[in-house]
Amino acid sequence: MKLRIALAAAAAGLCATSAANAAPASANTTAQANIVAPAALTATRDLEFGTVAKPTVGTTTVTVASAASATATPSVSGGNGFVPTSGLAHAATFHLIGTNGQTYSITTNSLSFTGSVGNLTAVGSESPVAASGTLLTLPASGTDDLYIGGHFDITSSTAVNTYNGTLSLTVNFN
């Protein structure tokens, strides 16, 4: 109740002041505005696995590492699948624009392929790697690149096809 009275009194005081004080009065103060570019995130390079020969036995895990190389070769483990031609793969690249030392968090980092059901299993993305500075903090330049690879499993029953998908990334700038 005391609070309501205080607020009401303050409001009444303001109204009384504007109504009764007709004499002009002026005062100067300083104002500052720091204009910065809006933080931005753009995908600048696809995630490419290249060509992989599927195994005749076992399950082969195919992994593209999170790295800068534009001519990488996926690593394969398990089964007897193999990469017939090296140097055709590369991780995706996302470009970050912010301010010096700005921190950010990654809330979504997911990989999916169209038509992967029954063909590509255990589909997922790799942990991001920052091109410069520390992950989750922009360097002095205010910009950085994130490299993100991916992985999936294939077997002898995987359909021969070119699979297209999407690597989605969500970044929250602080």
């Binding site: 005391k2 609070l3 205080a6 607020l7 809006p38 933080a39 931005a40 995130l41 753009t42 995908a43 390079r45 696809d46 995630l47 490419e48 696995f49 290249g50 060509t51 992989v52 020969a53 599927k54 195994p55 005749t56 195919v62 007897n80 699948g81 193999f82 017939p84 031609t85 995706a92 690249t93 996302f94 809330t107 979504t108 990989l111 392929f113 063909n119 590509l120 993100i148 991916g150 999936f152 294939i154 995987t158 359909a159 021969v160 096809n161 070119t162 699979y163 297209n164 998908g165 999407t166 690597l167 989605s168 990334l169 969500t170 970044v171 929250n172 700038f173 602080n174």
Partner: protein
């Protein structure tokens, strides 16, 4: 400090902590993966009798060369590795020809110079004596090769043969 003042002060602190506001930025990068069938090899090796070894990535021919003629069908991975075991200094030769079979088609790959290879890329396959090395590996794959002018779209099946001298 009155209660009203303390409320206003708390509100100000809260606003200060929330500034600058967090903004979510979303981006998506396309992803591609071409899965192909491994092919099989029929190797006709006129002057060699290597030992055939199963290896995780295919089959390896390891032995003393040259020797007797040989013809083998290798199911599974189309990677042919030729490696010399002895140390006599005699030349090591690649097979004169081998057959690649996969899907509904088959193709004879001749490693002799001047052979016409058909739809093979790269078209030049070194054959005969292995120059400057004691081993070679040959990778063969049949699959979908993405057209350079239409990334992401499958092109007609293309046979790719890669010879790498070690």
């Amino acid at each position: 400090m009155t209660r009203a003042a303390s409320i206003f002060a708390g509100f100000a602190v809260t606003m200060a902590a929330a500034s600058p506001c967090a903004a979510a930025n979303v981006a998506a990068a396309p992803a591609h993966a071409a899965i192909v069938d491994p092919a099989t090899l029929q190797v006709n090796w006129a002057l060699a009798q290597p030992t055939v070894q199963g290896i995780p990535q295919g089959a390896a021919f390891v032995g003393t060369m040259p020797a007797l003629g040989l013809g083998l069908t290798l199911p599974g991975q189309a990677r042919l590795i030729i490696r010399r075991e002895d140390d006599t200094g005699a030349p090591v030769t690649a097979p004169g020809a081998f057959e690649v079979a996969g899907g509904n088609d088959a193709l004879i790959i001749r490693t002799s110079g001047g052979a016409t290879l058909g739809p093979v890329s790269p078209r030049t396959i070194a054959g005969g004596e292995l120059i400057g090395g004691k081993a070679a590996s040959i990778d063969v794959v049949r699959g979908l090769i993405r057209a350079p002018d239409a990334p992401g779209l499958p092109a007609p099946q293309t046979l790719v043969v890669v010879v790498q001298y070690n």
